[in-house]
């Protein structure tokens, strides 16, 4: 009876039918055991509630049934029952518990809780993952790099793990950089040692040469002179004069030799008169000693004095470049240009001789002295460019900046 009544109630609407179809047997059984509360009230009853009156108004408007969910637990159905006269006089109310709604509500609450909990767990997991994969290795990397930076010791390395990610790659690259830095430092040290050694060797060679020159040439000549003078005493007066004349001429030679020796070490002109007179003198001497014509052009140097280190460097550079031309180029002519413009001293030595392979000449063990020349120029914050190739001549260009206060007339 009750079951039928439910069908009757819900069967009137498509929604109800649909709901019925979704219910399984258990639910249907539960529904069958439902005890429904049915109220019958005359419509004229003054005790009708507001909702009852609203339902009555809707029903009187011609609608056969009316449902209203007043709260979360029950749905109330209304219908009008006609009396004998066929007039609607009794309002039937039927209260149905809202089982599905409550279940849905519960489900939606569960869903919300699950979503919040799931989201939180996901967030925590993600954070833990990022922390273990990225943040802590990054912090470790930062710590290690900072430690190496403070110690300034390029022989240290970052610790590596077996992971293959970008951070690991970064660590490897930093280690690679440290290796390169260490090698560069070692190279610089080696170059410095080499230079010091070379300087020492050059100095020693110069001393040996000087000692030899003093002993063999000057010493011998002086001994000869003394013998001549001693002998002059014993000679008859007539021959004495000839002997003294010879001694004088030997003495003049000696003076000249000492002068040359001193000039070889460092031309006094460089200090007394400046770069241009020293270069003019050197070019003159180079031409007469080697037979190589120097086509010397210069501009902006006349009567100018530069700082001593620049004058010395420029002079030595020309000296060494010309020596290289004489030794290696096999030419009869070399062009030398020196000019000073816009606070820059430029030296260019060019020949069309044999040429050479620049990289190998710049490496160690070369007799051309190019590393030393480069060092000299770099020391003055200048730039040395050497263009050469075997069979294509050589062009050496040195550009040395002149400090603004460094030029004096």
């Amino acid at each position: 009876m009750v079951y039928d009544s439910e069908i009757w109630l819900v069967g009137k609407t498509a929604d109800g039918a649909l709901a019925h179809r979704w219910r399984d047997e258990d639910e249907s059984r539960q529904l069958s055991q439902l005890k429904l509360v049915i109220h019958l009230q005359p419509i004229s009853d003054a005790s009708l509630s507001d909702s009852d009156r609203y339902a009555l108004a809707v029903l009187q408007n011609g609608q056969p049934t009316y449902f209203s969910s007043q709260n979360a637990f029950t749905t109330t159905g209304y219908a009008l029952i006609q009396d004998i006269k066929g007039e609607s006089s009794i309002l039937m109310t039927l209260q149905i518990p809202r089982v599905s709604y409550q279940k849905g509500q519960l489900l939606s609450n569960y869903l919300l809780i699950i979503m919040v909990a799931g989201g939180s767990i996901f967030a925590i997991m993600t954070w833990l993952l990022i922390s273990s994969l990225v943040l802590s290795p990054l912090l470790r990397l930062n710590r290690e790099v900072a430690a190496i930076t403070t110690s300034a010791d390029a022989s240290q390395r970052l610790s590596l793990s077996s992971r293959r990610d970008e951070l690991e790659q970064l660590s490897r690259n930093i280690n690679g950089m440290l290796t390169a830095l260490e090698q560069a430092q070692a190279q610089v040290r080696e170059d410095e040692n080499r230079l010091a050694q070379l300087t020492g060797e050059v100095q020693e060679a110069e001393r040996r040469h000087l000692a030899q020159e003093l002993h063999d040439e000057i010493g011998q000549a002086l001994t000869g002179l003394r013998l001549m003078l001693v002998r002059a005493e014993e000679l008859p007066v007539i021959q004495q004069k000839t002997q003294l004349k010879q001694a004088q001429s030997l003495l003049n030679d000696l003076v000249e030799q000492v002068r040359q020796l001193s000039l070889n070490l460092r031309p006094t002109m460089l200090d007394d008169l400046g770069l241009l007179p020293a270069l003019l003198w050197h070019v003159e001497r180079f031409q007469s000693q080697t037979g190589i014509t120097v086509d010397f052009t210069h501009a902006g140097l006349e009567s100018l004095r530069f700082p001593q280190d620049i004058e010395t460097a420029a002079y030595r550079l020309v000296q060494e470049a010309l020596t290289n031309v004489a030794r290696h180029a096999c030419v009869q002519q070399v062009s030398l240009s020196v000019w000073c413009r816009d606070n820059k001293l430029t030296i260019q030595v060019e020949d069309e001789g044999n040429g050479f392979d620049v990289p190998s000449a710049l490496s160690r063990g070369s007799t051309r002295g190019l590393p030393g020349m480069r060092q000299r120029v770099q020391f003055l914050k200048g730039k040395l460019t050497i263009d050469s190739a075997i069979g294509e001549g050589t062009r050496l260009l040195a550009e040395i900046p002149i400090p603004p206060t460094g030029v004096s007339p």
């Binding site: 003049n252 003076v255 002068r259 006094t268 002109m269 007394d272 008169l273 241009l276 007179p277 003019l280 003198w281 086509d295 010397f296 052009t297 210069h298 501009a299 902006g300 140097l301 006349e302 062009s335 240009s337 000019w339 430029t346 260019q348 060019e350 069309e352 263009d387 190739a389 294509e392 001549g393 062009r395 260009l397």
Partner: protein, 211 residues
Amino acid sequence: MTISIVLVEDHTVVRQGLRTLLDSQPEIDVVGEAASGAEALELVDRFHPQVTILDLMMPGMSGFEVTTRIQDLTQVVILSMHASEAYVVEALRRGAKGYVLKDASSEELIAAIKAAALGQRYLSAPFSDQGLASYIEKAKSSPADPYETLTRREREIFKLVAEGLSSQEISAALSISPRTVEVHRANLMHKLGLENSSDLIRLALRRGIIT
């Protein structure tokens, strides 16, 4: 009429030798001896000698500097061991009248003193006006023309570029590698302050290198 002289020389032995030589000359009267530039200034100021014999190389104030400062008061004869025109030119520029090498003969020194006393120039052998003129010529700056700083090779390449040849063609024409041509070309552009080939052609036309 004797010539009054102040003798400035820092080496005592040399100074004594010179003194002996000068004292033996009847027409020369040595009024003072100095061993440094500072002393020289003082003596010249006090005695106003007709001629000052001045050693070029002294510690402290050099002979050049002393010359500049006393040349209005006395005639300066420089005594030097530097047989280079550069020194002579500088000494004359500073206002010296004579330049005598230390190993010149005593006759030359006396001649220099006498010439200086008359306000005439005297240079001991081997110097000559001709030699000095040739040195002055060499020491003259090239015209401040950037083109002058180009080397022979650069000028060749400048001309060929102006004639419209490519680096490849220039390389073939001069039998040098294209890279070398490029290097020369970049250098000459840099020296001449040129931006591009049309600048180069304009300059070549203006200088009459191409027509």
